[in-house]
């Protein structure tokens, strides 16, 4: 029954989306587009999308936590399940102490990315908008949609990735201390003596430089990975829709809706996992054996 319902919903989404976009849409630009300008403040269609998703998440959170009971039910139960599962999952990666400090960030990352990705699949996103006309209008891009997938905007993915980069540095320094932080990157791992220690200093110094380069590229890679996957998904849906012609535009994208639902979840998970692992790597004190000994 559930499978039938979910399948029907996806078919319906595809149908509505195809009809909405079949007449007016031309192509999906690589960047988010301006839909409103308030002085120097520009509102893009992806920003609007993120705000809508954020409002939805906050409202759901408020509704779920407004009248909390010890024995949960309904929405509270669902939200609690989600938060608890995420917390336990992250606890397995980061450890008890670190997850307490950082859960707000990783939880937000996962939930926001997931719902932003899925909201991007709702019919009308990228297909409802207006036609541009007049001089200075790009003939390849005459359509301006009101909404665009939030993560199909590099500004958004970069905002999350670079925010993480700053927080990563802050958490790493507060967990290790400044000396420990640099030692973690550059200091030789293991115990060496004599000439070997000198050689290892050079080797690990070089490895440290590579590590720094890798660290600097992490936010860039994170940004482009998420953006690329979501933008590619939207492109596929868009092009599939254009392939179907006027009356069958709804048909070709249908299988890809299932795929995009999965991609939305996987990308949210990948972003959260990678950021969590990056943090764990720098905050790892190598005390697993001690912990496991205690647990035994």
């Amino acid at each position: 029954m559930r499978f039938f319902l979910s399948t029907s919903i996806v078919w319906l989404f595809g149908l509505i989306s195809a009809f909405a976009g079949s007449e007016t849409h031309d192509h999906l630009p690589a960047n988010a587009e301006e839909i409103l300008r308030l002085g120097s403040f520009v509102v893009t269609n992806s920003m609007l999308m993120v705000w809508i998703v954020a409002a939805f998440i906050i409202i759901v959170a408020q509704l779920a936590t407004r009248k909390m009971t010890t024995v949960p039910s309904g929405l509270q139960n669902f939200v609690e399940w989600m938060v608890e599962s995420l917390y336990n999952f992250l606890e397995g990666i980061l450890g008890k102490q670190l997850v307490k400090r950082t859960f707000w960030f990783f939880g937000t990352i996962f939930i926001l990315i997931l719902f932003t990705n899925w909201f991007g699949l709702i019919p009308g996103v990228g297909t409802f908008g207006w036609q541009l006309s007049g001089p200075g209008v790009d003939p390849h891009d005459t359509f301006r949609p009101f909404l665009r997938g939030g993560n199909a905007d590099l500004n958004m993915t970069a905002a999350m990735a670079f925010t993480f980069a700053l927080l990563w540095f802050y958490w790493a320094v507060t967990e290790n201390g400044l000396k420990g932080f640099f030692a973690h990157i550059f200091a030789p791992k293991g115990k060496f003596s004599g000439i070997m220690s000198l050689m290892m200093l050079v080797v690990f110094g070089f490895v440290g430089v590579l590590e720094v380069i890798s660290i600097l590229f992490r936010p860039v890679a994170l940004s482009f990975r998420l953006y690329g996957n979501i933008f590619a998904g939207e492109n596929i849906l868009e092009n599939m829709m254009l392939m179907g012609g006027k009356y069958l535009a709804w048909l070709p994208p249908l299988p890809f809706y299932f795929l995009e639902l999965l991609v939305g979840l996987i990308q949210a998970l990948v972003f959260m996992l990678l950021t969590a692992v990056f943090l764990k790597l720098i905050c790892d004190h190598g005390d697993h054996d001690e912990e496991s000994e205690h647990s035994h």
């Binding site: 690589a30 960047n31 403040f41 939200v79 938060v83 707000w104 926001l112 590099l154 925010t163």
Partner: protein
């Protein structure tokens, strides 16, 4: 789409690779900062309205469960102690009951023995009395019989001999007759 992206590259050649990327994807400081602010607002609101209360509730539930388990353990311990106390009390009561029953049995046996002895003594007394009474009766009857026998023997002798017997005769005849009868 790909054509659009490729078309955008030559126009931005003079701005370097980063500039090209920024231009192609329309990455600007204002949009970037706006999205950062949006993300942080969402994170803070989620922390305040979702993660905070839910984690507090989960923690509260965990502590309640722990307290419940602790209470259960205490109750089980109390129950075990109570069961042990009850078992000890029952054992003590049993011992006491057994002791009382034994005492009662012993008392009853003693009482029965005492009463039996009393009954035996009483029966013996009755027997002695009866024997004495019977002996007295027999003696009385024997003497009466002797007297009557003597009188009959004397009367018969008097009638047979036709003489009046003296007291001595009568006494002698009586003794002879009795000696013959008793002999």
């Amino acid at each position: 789409m790909m054509f659009d992206l490729l078309a955008a590259v030559p126009a931005a050649e003079s701005e370097g690779v980063v500039g090209e990327i920024m231009k192609t994807f329309n990455v600007t400081w204002s949009l970037f900062i706006s999205q950062c602010v949006s993300f942080l607002i969402v994170a803070l609101l989620l922390k305040k309205f979702a993660f905070g209360p839910i984690q507090a509730m989960l923690e509260e539930r965990r502590s309640k469960i722990a307290a419940g388990e602790e209470k259960l353990k205490r109750i089980e311990q109390q129950l075990a102690e109570s069961e042990a106390t009850t078992a000890a009390a029952i054992a003590k009561a049993n011992d006491e009951a057994v002791r009382l029953i034994n005492e009662a049995k012993q008392g009853a046996a003693l009482f029965t023995e005492q009463k039996a002895q009393e009954a035996i003594a009483s029966a013996q007394q009755i027997l002695v009395k009866a024997e004495a009474a019977a002996k007295a009766d027999r003696d009385r009857l024997s003497s009466e019989l002797k007297r009557e026998f003597g009188r009959l023997v004397a009367a018969t002798t008097s009638q047979v001999t036709g003489k009046v017997l003296t007291a001595d005769d009568q006494k002698r005849i009586n003794e002879d007759a009795l000696a013959t009868v008793e002999g």
